[in-house]
């Protein structure tokens, strides 16, 4: 780069800048800038042509003013003029101004592109570099369009200077990142790979960034780079620190290049060619060896550079995951770093070890460091390092050390930072479940967890405990006993009360033999916590009480007394009040047999992926779940039964809401108790979904196609068409899971063609229903769907969205016709009117679309008030035709509507009015 000579300094600019800096106040600064701007404007406007120097000076001043935060709306032309100057400084300022100030949609872009083209085709390397830098700095789509073809040519041309090649590679990288579709692969790609062999280290460093980026998108095209990269790497690694001269950084040869090479290799699987592989392994070994050597310098830069390469090498070793020897060595190396003085090193070591732990070769080696890691968890000063230590403990946990690790994590939890507590709780819960050999240990651990960090125990954790306790007969007695003991603590966490209430309600009988935990004692214990709990917990406790009545008839009177008390039966909370009333009635009216059936022990839950795991993944967000994903991969091979969302990628896993995920549990015992159903586990889910389907039922009043129902398992889509009094409806049943549904049957209380009894995972089947409207009706036909999913029978009842308005024939009529008929239908029973509040925004277009979807003709220019809508239509049934007129008057101010329907049949008016009132 040509040095800026003294004569090139711009005095005017220096004076201006010092003026600005000396300004006492903002106002003074603005005044000075206004003055300068006026001066520059008059100079630019002036008749005299400016010479290059003054142009440069003024453009520089403008740039400075712009950087101070003021708008600049002129001077672009002058800057573009500077581009064609032959002086380096002038050209440079021109390019600087353009890359800072010119936006992509400027009219000048053509001129600029032209100037850049000229510079690119000039033989002057400095000018070429300036042009390339400008392209990269602007990096807009227009730039990419104009130069994406040109730059690869420059990059691979034989006679291009090294410095230009370097710039070209980085410029191309930038364009590829901003608009990858414009940078087309071509014959140049193979030649780019050969830049790895370039003499000039700078070119190699620049090119490798480009290649890494490109090969991530098209790995196959750049496959050849692996061997080249390996040879390059081995040359660097084996070179003495003096060989590379300029590229040696504190005694480390070309650290940046080495890191980039190692990173590039991480885009590919281990090389298949034995020689290449051998060489690479040798390189990696050398790097590991070098880490053992005493440092050549005490400077921090030296160790930073060395460690950067080392960590990149370890990442590569982990990525390959095929060299047990190297993995173990890497692990040992990291083990040394665990106690290093540098906090950053400790952090990185823990982080890398986390990934090492998931490799089968090094898992054992990682485990040897357990003491150090536990120590780090306890004594580390930096919270982020502690977090990593916790992650590593989680990753290195297996059946052999689970007890120790869980115990350590539990004890750490008491002093842990608030920010990581919730995650820690989830981890402990997962580990405890995953490696539980005997379930009494599991129950102990989780109860301990709730005791220690109750506030951080999310719903999922205690749901899971209950799922497990219910599904395993052998721990139920133990669980009941432990819970009972835990509840005896004077202050216990609400989550503990929840678990206690649930478990005692289910299995209290198992410990009732002991006089210390007789039924009444159990009840009194639970009830002593009752008043300190929130409403949902109280509701749960009430359900536990009714279960007690079933389990221990002797407590009946006591419990009824409690239920009858004003604080329950007249509770201000509707849910509690309803439960109290219903349970009281149930207990007094129903016979013991009925009671026993209704309040039967909860059936086992279907096995499913732990919702806690999903929650943990969600917490960490996609991208940060590498450890868990790896684990997931291992698990998938064996167990994982019926996990509907098994796709493996974390985004899909994080979608299911916890409520749906836990199926029966969320709704809890109360629902099953209040609305018992013979054996169908999923009844409560669907009762929840039922309300949803009602909403979707109404949404079909004004449209014919769409999704009628959707839950975790099943999606039902509808397509329908109507002509006169006939209609045809296509129902599409989509299986959203990967498991097939068997004995799939649907029954319609009208008539329907049978449907395929089997739906494959992910597949969709179609059912056609023919509909004929005999006479007007108000009840929709019911569709009952039954199928088996993973052994459990699913039952679902839906309203088919067939409404009276589907059989409308639109009728066009003029204004006076309309009002004549309107008057004819003036009997009081012929009119139905409703005034209701708007549910949606009052958008005229939306309203129009909805009214058209209704099937009537929307009559324009009929109503004197243009805000109002009037419609007319005839309903075709087999028996008769019913003419209907409709008038909708929105009141935007009050957000209210008045809807009036008149038709020749009173039932029709009423039904239409009801249907429509839900729509707006």
């Amino acid at each position: 780069m040509p040095a800026v000579s003294k004569g090139d300094g711009m005095r005017g600019l220096a004076v201006f800048i010092s003026d600005i800096r000396n300004c006492k106040s903002k106002e003074a600064e603005i005044k000075r800038i206004n003055k300068e701007l006026a001066n520059i404007r008059s100079k630019f406007k002036g008749d005299k042509a400016l010479d290059g120097y003054s142009k440069k000076k003024y453009v520089c001043k403008l740039l400075f003013i712009f950087l101070l935060g003021h708008d600049i709306d002129f001077g672009h032309m002058e800057a573009v003029n500077l581009l064609s100057s032959n002086k380096y400084t002038e050209k440079q300022i021109g390019y600087l101004f353009i890359s800072v100030l010119v936006n992509s949609n400027s009219e000048l872009i053509r001129l600029i592109n032209n100037a850049i083209k000229n510079d690119l085709s000039s033989r002057n390397p400095t000018f070429m570099c300036l042009a390339l830098h400008c392209i990269a700095n602007v990096g807009s789509r227009e730039m990419a369009e104009a130069f994406a073809g040109e730059i690869p040519r420059i990059l691979v041309a034989g006679d291009t200077m090294d410095s230009v090649k370097q710039s070209a590679a980085l410029c191309l990288l930038r364009l590829y990142k901003t608009s990858p579709d414009l940078v087309l692969m071509g014959e140049w790609t193979s030649r780019v790979v050969h830049l790895l062999n370039d003499q000039h280290m700078g070119v190699v460093t620049a090119a490798i960034s480009l290649i890494t980026c490109l090969s991530q998108k098209n790995p196959d095209e750049f496959k050849t780079c692996v061997s080249l990269a390996v040879s390059r790497l081995s040359r660097i690694v084996s070179s003495a620190s003096t060989d590379l001269q300029d590229y040696t950084y504190y005694f480390v040869p070309a650290p940046w290049l080495s890191c980039k090479l190692l990173r590039l290799l991480q885009c590919y699987p281990p090389p298949e060619d034995g020689a290449v592989k051998g060489r690479l392994v040798e390189c990696l070994e050398t790097i590991l060896n070098k880490a053992q050597e005493p440092p050549k310098s005490k400077k921090v830069q030296h160790s930073n550079a060395k460690n950067a390469i080392l960590f990149e090498a370890i990442s590569l070793i982990i990525h390959y995951d095929s060299e047990p020897n190297l993995l173990v060595r890497a692990c040992n190396q990291l083990g040394q770093f665990l106690q290093h003085r540098e906090t950053n090193l400790r952090y990185l070591a823990l982080e890398s070890m986390c990934t090492l732990a998931s490799s089968e070769f090094s898992h054992e080696a990682v485990k040897t460091h357990i003491e150090t890691v536990i120590n780090a968890l306890k004594t580390e000063r930096d919270v982020s390092v502690r977090q990593r230590a916790a992650d590593l403990l989680y990753a290195m946990c297996d059946r052999s050390n689970a007890k120790q690790i869980v115990a350590e994590m539990l004890s750490y939890l008491e002093t842990a930072d608030y920010s990581i507590r919730e995650e820690m709780v989830l981890k402990v819960a997962i580990l405890a479940e995953k490696y539980a050999v005997d379930y009494s240990w599991y129950v102990d651990t989780i109860l301990n967890l709730i005791r220690i960090a109750g506030d951080y125990v999310s719903e999922e954790v205690w749901y899971r405990v209950i799922q497990i306790v219910i599904n395993r007969d052998d721990v139920q007695g133990y669980a009941a006993k432990t819970v009972f003991e835990a509840l005896q603590a004077p202050a216990c966490h609400e989550n503990m009360v929840k678990v206690g209430g649930y478990i005692l309600g289910e299995f209290g009988n198992l410990i009732a033999g002991d006089p210390r935990s007789s039924p009444l004692v159990q009840f009194n214990l639970l009830h002593s916590k009752f008043h300190l709990c929130s409403v949902p917990t109280r509701a749960l406790l009430l359900s536990a009480y009714i279960k007690f009545i079933n389990l221990f008839p002797e407590t009946k009177s006591t419990i009824q007394e409690v239920l009858r008390s004003d604080s329950q039966i007249r509770n201000s909370d509707v849910e509690l009040q309803q439960r109290a009333v219903e349970y009281l009635k149930l207990s007094s009216i129903a016979s013991t047999d009925v009671l026993a059936t209704v309040l039967e022990e909860m059936p086992p839950f279907p096995e499913r992926e732990s919702s806690i795991l999903a929650k943990l993944k969600k917490k960490k967000g996609p991208g940060a779940v590498s450890v868990n994903e790896l684990e997931e991969g291992k698990r998938e091979g064996g167990e994982l039964n019926g996990g509907g969302e098994r796709g493996g990628d974390s985004s899909a896993i994080s979608t299911p809401s916890p409520s749906a995920d836990l199926l029966g549990l969320r709704a809890g015992p109360p629902v099953t108790a209040a609305a018992p159903s013979a054996g169908s586990l999923l009844v409560d889910v669907f009762s929840e979904a039922g309300s949803g389907s009602l909403a979707s039922y109404f949404q079909f009043v004004c449209k014919n196609n769409g999704v009628l129902f959707e839950n975790q398992l099943l999606q039902i889509g509808i397509k329908s068409e109507y002509r006169q009094n006939l209609g045809r409806m296509y129902l599409f049943y989509g299986n959203k899971t990967s498991v097939q549904f068997v004995t799939f049957t649907t029954t319609l209380n009208v008539q329907a063609k049978p449907v395929e009894p089997l739906i494959e995972g992910g597949a969709q089947v179609q059912q056609v229903i023919n509909i004929e409207c005999l006479t007007d009706f108000s009840d929709a036909p019911l569709l009952n769907i039954k199928f088996r999913y993973g052994g459990a029978l699913q039952n679902l009842t839906l309203k088919l969205p067939v409404t009276i308005n589907k059989f409308f024939q639109p009728t066009e009529m003029a204004s006076h016709d309309f009002f004549q008929r309107w008057k004819q239908l003036s009997l009081p029973q012929q009119e139905a009117q409703k005034i209701f509040k708007a549910n949606h925004a009052m958008d005229t277009e939306v309203l129009k679309a909805k009214l058209l979807g209704l099937g009537m003709a929307l009559l324009e220019n009929v109503d004197p008030n243009p805000e109002n809508f009037v419609c007319a239509g005839v309903i075709q049934t087999k028996a008769q035709q019913v003419g209907s007129l409709l008038r909708l008057e929105p009141n935007a101010q009050a957000q209210m509507y008045r809807l009036t329907v008149r038709s020749s049949k009173d039932t029709v008016s009423k039904r239409l009015c009801e249907l429509l009132a839900e729509q707006f």
Binding site: K24, A38, N39, R41, S42, K45
Partner: protein, 436 residues
Amino acid sequence: MIGGLFIYNHKGEVLISRVYRDDIGRNAVDAFRVNVIHARQQVRSPVTNFARTSFFHVKRSNIWLAAVTKQNVNAAMVFEFLYKMCDVMTAYFSKISEENIKNNFVLIYELLDEILDFGYPQNSETGALKTFITQQGIKSQHHTKEEQSQITSQVTGQIGWRREGIKYRRNELFLDVLESVNLLMSPQGQVLSAHVSGRVVMKSYLSGMPECKFGMNDKIVIDKQGKGGTTDDSGKSGKQSIAIDDCTFHQCVRLSKFDSERSISFIPPDGEYELMRYRTTKDIILPFRVIPLVREVGRTKLEVKVVIKSNFKPSLLAQKIEVRIPTPLNTSGVQVICMKGKAKYKASENAIVWKIKRMAGMKESQISAEIELLPTNDKKKWARPPISMNFEVPFAPSGLKVRYLKVFEPKLNYSDHDVIKWVRYIGRSGIYETRC
């Protein structure tokens, strides 16, 4: 109540920091600096809230005064206090500037101790303060016991703003009616908004404890009198009287009397003070009319012609007339021709400034300018800011007239006739703008 008061210079350095309550810490000082003085976007609201702390600020030239509190105070009270504080400081060392504040910081702390007690405003009457807080520190130590007790009784007494035993050989009274007239006019000459905010400032040099009564042509008073007299006169007197929209008084005015009789009677402080402030919006005499004519000739030229007409008695002279014609931001050159006064293009303010020293009533003057523009690639049109004007006229644009100012001093032997009274009217421009 006010928790603390801070004074900053334009850089945000704290010049004065006085904390009255424990709930305000030093970090409040920084919070204001960071979020208001150094804010990226200019903070326009005078009241700001950070971390449950309220900051009320006023700016005088380059100096920021900020009152801080954690409590729910009456914001109007705080601002009244801040303005009073400014008045007091001006009374002591004329201009509020960084240098003056630095030179007088001991005095300011002394004043702050006196004006605010535990965050509650106390006496802020300059005249009274000057009797015991003097700029000559040594002098104050020579107060005799008697003098000190006199000060105490005065400050804590019923008439805190005036001490007893004042004697003048000549009893004199100066009364200034100072008004500023604000206007926004459309290019066609339609008044979009106009109001006058006025002050009655007095300087009294009277002996003893005189009782004064001030009368002006307030419409309510005149109507009341008109009702008592002949009703036929009401048309005429209505024209003479003015409707006052709202007014505030100096603490010496007996408000109960004003409420019941609408008469303004008071025992005046000694020296200079502001007797009342008022605002009117009806029947305003607009001293000047600005007639703009802007023509855009192509993209690179602009022709501006502005005529000003004075609209008052030909015998009166307006002074310090200044017309400010904004120019587009891409102005590259300006040629100005004016018949009277001097006109100049000020690039630093993006405006043509036309100054006329004196102008009699019912006259007309004109300026024409050619503005050359630099073509820019900016698509947005010039917003045409309004033409603004400054002037000073020797009458009250609101039409306010002083009818009488009577002085009664029963104890001493001088009567109303012996007092020499001076009355002066000055009308100034506030924001006096005409759109073009």
